[in-house]
Structures are given as C-alpha cells and as structure tokens.
C-alpha cells in the first residue's frame, strides 16, 4: 500500500482547480480580510468517539480553499451575527486520541511526533543544562489539536472563541491555552511591513495584491502533500489503508515570539546618535537610526529592500521592487548594500546562496515557508518606543508556517539560515533580529566594516508546536473512525 502511494505514477507538481474543495483555505490565504484571529490549543477527552463528534462540528465550519481563492463556497457557514472562518490542525498525539491506529500515526514525520521543546536546542532557543527551553511560558507542544479562528472584529472573535471552548467542553475536551491576535495591520510589531515575500504554490496562484518575486513559484509538493516537490519526487505521505491521508494536507508550525519593541528602537536610536556620520552611516541621527535598523532587517520600515534603496527608504508606492529583487543581480555579493547577515537575506537568500543565481534559487526554493502568522498585543509605534514608552502588554508574533516537510522547511530555515552563527561565511553571527543576543552583527563597508559586537536580544521564543493540517478527505476519514 505504502509503496503505491510513494511511487505515484502520473503525480504532478501542480494542484488542479478541482482539488480546492479538499484543501483547507489556510493553504491559500491567511484570511487577512478577517482582521482578528484566535488560536485555541486543545486537549481532547479520553473517549475517541466524543472527540470525533467534536471534530465533525469543527470541520463543518472550516473555510475551504475554493472560497479562499475567490470562488463561491460550496457549503453555507453556520449562521451567526457575523461571518467567521475556521481552520483545524492536529498533532500526532491528537490523531491517536481520535482513534487513528498506531501504525498510521507511525508513518508521520519524526519531527511531527516530537514535542517542539525537544527541538529547542537546534531551533536556537535558550536552554538549561538538560536541554529544556528556559524562556518558554506557553506549553502547547503536548496538546492534541489547534483550532484557528478568524472573525471580522475583536468582540466577534471573542464570541467565536467562547463558542468553541464550549463546544470543546461539551465533547469532553479542555482548553490548554488560547492566544488572541492583534488587529490585522500588515506590519509586524517592530513596525516593518511584513509578509511581502511568499512562495507561490503551483496551481494555487498568488494572493491578490501579493508583490511577486523573481522566482517565487514552487512545486506544489513543497507545501501540499500528494504532489511532486522541488526534487521532482513525491514526498512520503502517511497512508491509512488505501487512502493517502496526507494528500492535500500540509504541516503547520506554530511559534510564539515575543518582541521587545522598546529595547529594539532604543538600541538603534542610541546607536544612531553614536554612529551618525561615520562611514556609510548617514549624518542625520534620525535617518542613521532607521538606516541601522534597516541594515539588520534588510528592509526599510515601509518594506522597500535596502539592496535596492541602500541610502534612504524607497517610495512606498514602488510595489514592484518590494519583492522583485535579487542580491547578486545588484552586485551585492559582499553585502555592501544589504549585509549578508540581514534578517531577510537569511530567511530567503534568493540568488546569493552560492553556485550562481540558477543553482542558488534552485537550492533556496527547496526551503521556502508559506507564512500565515499574526501579530499579538497592542503594539506601540517606533517613535513611541524610541521615546522610551513600553507596550501595556507583551507584543510579538504568533508565527505560523506551512510546509510539506518540517525538517526541510521551518527547522532548516531556523537552524541553517536564521539561527546559524556561520551563515554565509559569518563568524558567531546569528540573525540580528531573532538571534539569542550577545552576538555580533557586521555591516560591510569600505575600507572598514562596521561591526556591532554585542547585540541585545530583541525576540524571545515563548513556546510552539508542530501540527498536521489535514485535507477535507483526511478529516472525514478520521471522523469516520477506525472501524
């Protein structure tokens, strides 16, 4: 059985339009037209039958890809005073709690079966002497399921969350934790425009208004199981009897990342005052601050890339350049425009990963993440932060990404690109934005580079978990039970 699924004659690398009834909408959209989101982390009860009844109710509310792609939805959503969308993801523990047989669960990827805490060391999180994450405050990696809730307004979202907590309790489950997003703003809490670079899954197309990149189209099998991936192979997919349980499913990574907005802007404001006028740093302290922060990010606050606009932010209406850029093509192999260690140059090295542009893109496109994250907490503006104001509550990012392999997707990007102190020939320099603090960041310049030897920590991981995002067919199979 398993062999038939992996050899898969005739499998393609493009999702056909007909498959959209089977895909969860989250694969196609972050549902950003619903400005408020909540994440409900679930522990299921001990009766698999009642848990399957719960999954039935949740599945009936899921927003599918056909509607997300702009086509009319097949099924009416539940009548409420407001419109809402739901997505549902399961851990391998949750699959077992729903009655999926052990030998089926065993066919899931190794990392999906581990608690994320066991991966803390490779993910670069601060760990104690036993390797346990030291700064985590949210323990959700032992949960059974994640329900993602999307609603237009904050009160609607709160009502939806209450409704789902009741639904869960009525079926013997309990809430492990819940997380509420901030209102959708299109910027992350440090104040930078976010979500500009996204891969385009073949057959699913780009989201409307998404700025296109030079080579953003990737084979469907990089994100959705059941299709050929960037190696031309059909990824191993968990099977249940004759059914390919993975097909049209994906793996979902969740990370809660707390951001120190005040610390970030005060650090760069201080640095701007000290370094203004030195070498390539602009003479005006305010611009110097922005210049230095933009070097660490790789983009200016309005999203324009520093490799295109090295001296000052580009015009915000230059949508074309937001994602349509490369590093070598701008003659920037040495990072004089955009530092090698800059956050976005690590997260997506584009043409600069060695072996020439073609080989680099080919390699890079084997590690692309479809990002679906949301900011949390009421953010303050960079100006307020520079003045020393602090947010009233913790702020940061509820990071969510989709990929067909967690090891080759999220974990690779986190460990080998963002977190790697030796990335691109650097020495003891992990990501300046998301790194652990206490490390250096080099801004190349002639004749002498500018090196910030001891960056503070700006981002603290607070917890996370790995999930399987099943297709409609897979959900129906799980709901039908093992008999």
């Amino acid at each position: 059985m398993a062999e038939a699924a992996v050899t898969g004659a005739g499998a393609d690398d493009t999702v056909p339009a007909g498959a959209r009834d089977d895909l969860q909408g989250l694969v196609v959209t972050g549902w950003s037209r619903f400005h408020h989101a909540a994440l409900l982390f679930v522990r299921l009860g001990s009766d698999p039958g009642r848990s399957r009844a719960w999954l039935r109710e949740v599945t009936d509310q899921v927003g599918w890809a056909r509607e997300a792609a702009g086509e009319p939805e097949l099924r009416a959503t539940r009548p409420r005073g407001f419109d809402a969308r739901v997505a549902v993801a399961l851990t391998t523990r949750g699959l077992a709690a729903l009655g999926v047989p052990d030998d089926v669960v065993d066919r899931f990827p190794q990392e999906a079966k581990l608690n994320m805490a066991e991966r803390a060391r490779i993910l670069g999180d601060a760990v104690d002497e036993l390797g346990r994450p030291r700064d985590w405050t949210l323990t959700v990696d032992g949960c059974d399921a994640l329900v993602l809730l999307y609603a237009p307004g904050a009160p609607d979202r709160d009502a939806l969350l209450r409704e789902h907590e009741q639904l869960l309790r009525a079926h013997g489950g309990i809430t492990v934790a819940d997380e509420k997003s901030a209102a959708w703003a299109g910027t992350e809490p440090f104040g930078f425009v976010d979500g500009l670079s996204q891969p385009v899954v073949k057959g699913l197309g780009a989201r409307a208004g998404q700025p296109r990149g030079p080579r953003d189209e990737i084979p469907a099998g990089e994100v959705v199981l059941g299709y050929r991936n960037a190696y031309g192979q059909l990824p191993q997919s968990p099977t249940w009897g004759d059914l390919d349980l993975g097909k049209h499913g994906s793996y979902l990574v969740f990370r809660k990342l707390e951001q120190d907005v005040t610390g970030f802007w005060r650090y760069f404001a201080n640095l701007g005052r000290t370094l203004a006028g030195q070498g390539p740093v602009p003479a005006d302290p305010a611009l110097a601050t922005e210049w230095l922060a933009a070097r660490a990010m790789g983009r200016w606050r309005n999203g324009t890339p520093v490799v295109v606009y090295p001296d000052a932010p580009g015009p915000a209406d230059d949508r074309a350049s937001l994602n349509q850029f490369e590093y070598l093509a701008h003659g920037d192999a040495d990072g004089l425009r955009c530092p090698i260690g800059a956050h976005i140059r690590r997260a997506n090295p584009r043409d600069a990963r060695g072996g020439g542009a073609d080989e680099s893109w080919q390699v890079v496109n084997r590690h692309r993440l479809l990002r679906r994250g949301r900011a949390f907490g009421e953010a303050i503006s960079p100006e307020q932060a520079m003045a020393g104001a602090t947010p009233r509550e913790p702020v940061g990012l509820l990071f969510l990404s989709l990929q067909a392999s967690i090891a080759r997707g999220f974990e690779f990007v986190q460990q080998i690109w963002n977190g790697n102190p030796g990335f691109g020939g650097l020495h003891r320099e992990p990501d300046p934005i998301t790194g652990p603090g206490g490390c250096a960041f080099t801004i190349p310049a002639d004749p002498v580079r500018l090196r910030l030897p001891d960056l503070p920590r700006f981002v603290t991981p607070r917890g996370g978990a790995y999930f399987f995002l099943p297709s409609r067919t897979a959900l129906e199979r799980i709901i039908a039970g093992p008999d």
Binding site: Y231, Q415, I416, V448
Partner: protein, 442 residues
Amino acid sequence: MIATEALTVVAPIAGGADEVARLRDRLRTIQDDLLGKRGTNQVFLPAQLPDTHFMRLVIVDDTHGGGELAPLLAWESNHDGTTDDYLRKVAREAARPDRCLDLDAVFGACAGYPTGGVRDVDGFVAWMRRHAVRAEAFYCAYPGVTKQRVDHDRRLHDEIRTFLDAERPRLVGAAGVVVHDRVVEHLRGRGLDVSRPVDGAGARWWRTVLRLIPIAVALLLTWPLWLPIVAYLWFWKLPRLEATDKPATYHRPVHGAPDLIAAEDHIVQNQLTHLVDIKPGWARYVILRLVLCGIDTLARLYFVHGNLGGITSIHFARWVIIEDRRPRRDVRVRRHRLLFFSNYDFSWDSYLGEFVDRAARGLTAVWSNTVGFPRTRKLLEDGARDEERFKQWARDQQLRTDVWWSGVADATVDNVRAALAIRDGLATRPDYEELTRWLRRL
C-alpha cells in the same frame, strides 16, 4: 613541506561482548567530558593530541549485518606531517606524566596491542602502522595547513576584529593601504607572526602530480589491457546490475535514531560515521575502487580550495574499505564494507541536503555500489536525487560515534579559510583590487 594526512587505524577488539561494552563505557566518559557533562574524564583529552585537526574513535560493530563480523575499534585522525612522525610524537606526548592521553587505556582493548604501550615507542608505532588502513579517498578543505597555523591565524583574525572595532572611528575614510599598515603594525606590537607562511598545499599538489605522471604513462601504454574490461563493465555489466539491484524501501519520512540526534548540533560542526556493505560480486568492488581513486585524485589536485564538488562545508572526509577478514574458505560471499568519516559544518540535514543539491552525481557514483542505495542509472544518475529515500538510507547506515573531537569547534570552513587568507595578505601589501577583497574579509 608539511602535508595534511589521514590516519585510520582499524583494529579488532579482543575478548567478547563484555570487553566491547567495557570499552564503550570508557569511551562514553571521554565523550561526556568533551560535551562538558561531567568533567571526570582523567583518561584521554583529545585536545592534547599534537598536530591534530579532528579525531574520532568508533566501535565498528556489525549490528546491521547480524553481528557475524568481529567488532573493531577505529581511530580517525586528521593530522599534520607523515604518519610515522605523527605517531612517534603522539607516543612521546602520551608518555609524559603531565598529559592526559592514555591511549593504552583505549587501545589496550585491542588484540596484540604492545604490552609496553606508548612507552614502547617503536612497538606502538609498528602496531598502529600494522592496523592502519589506507584511505581510498581523502578530502581536506585546507590541505597543507598545519593545526598550529590554523590556531594562530584564527587568533590573529580575532585580534584584528577587536582592533578594528575600537579603531573604526579613526579609520573611516582612510585609504585601504593605511588600514592595512595600521593592522600590521598593531599585530606586530602584539607579538603575532605576520610573516608569509610556508605554502604546504603547493608541495602536496606537486607531490601528487609527480606521483601521477608514471601512472598516467603506464595507463596510456597499456590501454589494450584495461579498456575492454572498462567497456565490459560500463556497457554490459553495470546496466544489468542496476536493473536487478534492490533499493531499500521506506514507508515514512526520514527518521533518525534518537541517540544519533541527541549527539548532534552541540557545536558549529557535526560528524558522520557511515558503514555499509559493498554489493556482492567483483564488479561493484572494482567500480567502487575506480570511483574512489578518481575522487581522491580530484581531491588532491582540483578540490584544494575548500570546495568539494560544490560543497563548501566539509573540513575533512575520507572513505575507507574494510576488507572481509574472515578466512576465505569459510564463506561463499565476501563482505567488504565501505566506511565513511566526515567532519562538516552545520546540521546533518543541511549536509545531506548539500550532497543532494550540489554533488548528487559524485556521491551516487560512490554509494550506488553499496547495499540498499536508491535506484541509479548509469552509475551517476538518479540515486541520491531521491532525496527522502537517500536521507533515510544514510540514517539507517549511520554508526554512533563514540568519541568525536573538533580542534576548531566554533569555526566553519569559511571562517578558517578567511583567517588563512587574511594572514596571507599581511606580509606583503596587496594591490588595489586584492586589497579591497582583503579588507572586506576582516
């Protein structure tokens, strides 16, 4: 004229399973100490080995093959100078009372180890030499560069970093040559060696070329003898072997043994010990030897700048063939095994990924001659391109490394080579274009 050499000692462990278990425990205390877990190891501190870049100790057992082959102890050392000189120096150092290099406690578990141990220098060297196995192919990212120079030049680079961090405000806008002069002056003041280093790589290159000339001439003169054999292998035998090979099958994405994963990602580098049976029959054995010979030649002549066929993250790697040591008349099928040691930067997944992304053909040419490898065509094609299956196959043949030590724990190949290039540019003032490149490395 110092060369970088690969020493591989493979010796049978005397006694039964108990002896092996005891040795494994002893090695574990050494490894725990290296990972900073206990600090109780008073047996063996690899950092005290002279002129050594990387080393490991592995108990090579036959768990995959059902345990019919006797357990071996393998010692991998990447060292400077000739093997004889190195072993002599190791023995002398080990015998010093202020050193913690009890090689006797490690190798004493092996059959025939001299009773005098390291104090019997000649006996020690002779025993080691007797059990040394030639590497069929050996790659080194910085050939001819001594460990001493690596350490010195990295210290020098650190010193430059600190100097420039402090002096930068006064150097902004200065001419490149002024920066160069100031750096040299500062390093001299610190008593560091800024002279042009001896080029060991060139000597190694020339030695290889000189050795190859007679071989090339002999091959040219004798082509009627070997060409038919090669043609037979390529056009007749290989396609038939490839059609009937049985690749290992898997029903789930890559799973690695928990003890392998727990041992990984503690420093910037990782290691791989990989052991697999060569496919039965003479043809595969001959093809493998030829491929490895080709890789070895390329590694000595062409891949000498820290780049092995597109992969820039390998410090040292070698392939060794362990011949079947059982008496010939007892067995119908010989079991030769291919042992691979690698010392590389970054994670297992990224290393194997680099293999697939950038050097799939080369590694397919090697490992398609071993059991269970994904299906190949024409020796080089497909094979490792089957990414998931290749990685699972690699995981399944991986051996746990009992002791592994890196002499450059926080430096990537790029870091080491940058430090060496900076040192090269110190002695003479580079011309303008080279100077810009030199300054950007700092």
